[in-house]
Symmetry: C2
DNA sequence: TGTACATCAGTGAACGCGCGTTCACTGATGTAC
DNA sequence: TGTACATCAGTGAACGCGCGTTCACTGATGTAC
């Protein structure tokens, strides 16, 4: 066994199991037995389960953030200080997301992991991602800000997250949805096909008319907390 | 203690803890100690942790599906066989979702639970929801079909799920997003406020132009699986 | 009205189990002299 | 070239812990006669 083949085997197995069942539901024994690796090897190489989870993310997010940064560099150079159109920014992000996992396991796993990062409690994970990759996201949102000067800041913030929700939710729940879609419409759906369908929806959502101000205080907010 | 006050106390506490931390991360000991109830009471009244989880969902989804059915009855009567506009259908769904938890704990909890139902592995839960509440969802999608006759079936299917993703993702990840939003914009965001912001985005997304057919086979699908 | 019995909500303690982590140890490889 | 030592990946077994569940039991209330 080559040096630290073990590390790779652990990461490869862990990312698949985490994506399938979540972090709490995947035990180190699940991972190490499937990877045919000693149980203690996880703690030996990574230190803890938490650190393993972060390492799994880093293996996707490090190349992603690096490439996204250089894609944005290129874009800024090309537009020489002029505002980059929203469609181009979204397209660039989509392209980068699509290229990263081509060398890794699969886009499905990448998206499921992103979905879990959002939805599972795992506070440490959100903090880690925020801290490690917050800058590239900030850079992107700043460019989006310049591309949509008429959108109020808060509105743009929320719409970006709506958009993120659409994409992550769809691509991370892909398997279940794909099954239903194929059963109902006898039509195969590839990830690229979905991205193609997502594009006009996302663009239309970002460019939607502003919400009606009169709605704001129609009713008292009856929700606790 | 009145008869089966215990049952209510368990459900009230469980739904909050489940919403906060997920199912696997919430132990029966967490629930029973916070509810000041005997540990064995959960198994006595519900039979198992799984059954407790389903009971928590039923307490929201039973009234929801009942009300949504009657709201749709009303709508169909009002439109006397004519197609109901998409906006009206979406509005009706939103209104129903908003009224249900007004009597319960909070909308936030309801949405977090829906988000968890989608994102956590918990196969039994998705099956349970599908089986118990699938009919009302089918009825709704059929009405949406009639309201959008120009949308190809597959396109409508995907857009409905895009929309679902946006709403569930946003409302279930609300706390984290709200924190960021308040930090950045010093502006409190209520759930009703978010629903108001979601409306035009969702409508625009559903009515977006069809995807460009030429994109379909621009590149081979390089993604594994 | 009184007694015997059944029902039922709730309890306290224990069960076995799988979990993440730790630790003393092995055995191969590299380095110094 | 040979020997002593250090480094490092990996291992096997055990640690204590918290988990969901079970079980024998209690004590209050309702029912039959």
């Amino acid at each position: 066994m080559a040096q630290s083949d073990t590390v790779t085997r652990i990461l490869d197995t862990a990312e698949v199991l985490f994506a399938e069942r979540g972090f709490a539901e995947t035990s180190l024994r699940n991972i190490t037995s499937k990877a045919r690796v000693n149980l203690a090897a996880v703690n030996y190489h990574f230190g803890s389960k938490k650190a393993l989870i972060q390492a799994v993310f880093a293996r996707y997010l490090d190349p992603f953030s690096e490439r996204f940064h250089s894609a944005l560099d290129e874009l800024e150079a090309r537009y020489e200080g002029r505002d980059i159109p929203l469609e181009v920014l979204l397209e660039t992000m989509a392209t980068t997301v699509l290229t990263v996992p081509a060398e890794r396991n699969s886009l499905k796993v990448f998206m499921r992991l992103l979905g879990l990062a959002y939805s599972q409690a795992q506070g440490h994970l959100r903090r880690y991602i925020q801290q490690q990759y917050g800058d590239v996201f900030s850079r992107f949102t700043e460019l989006v800000r310049r591309a949509t000067p008429d959108l109020p800041d808060a509105e743009r913030f929320w719409r970006l997250h709506f958009m993120l929700g659409t994409v992550i939710f769809t691509l991370s729940g892909l398997d279940a949805l794909r099954d239903i879609a194929e059963k109902d419409y006898h039509q195969h759906v590839s990830v690229r096909d979905l991205v193609r369908r997502l594009r006009p929806v996302v663009v239309a959502g970002m460019n939607a008319p502003l919400p009606d101000e009169r709605d704001v205080e129609h009713h008292a907010d009856t929700v606790a907390h």
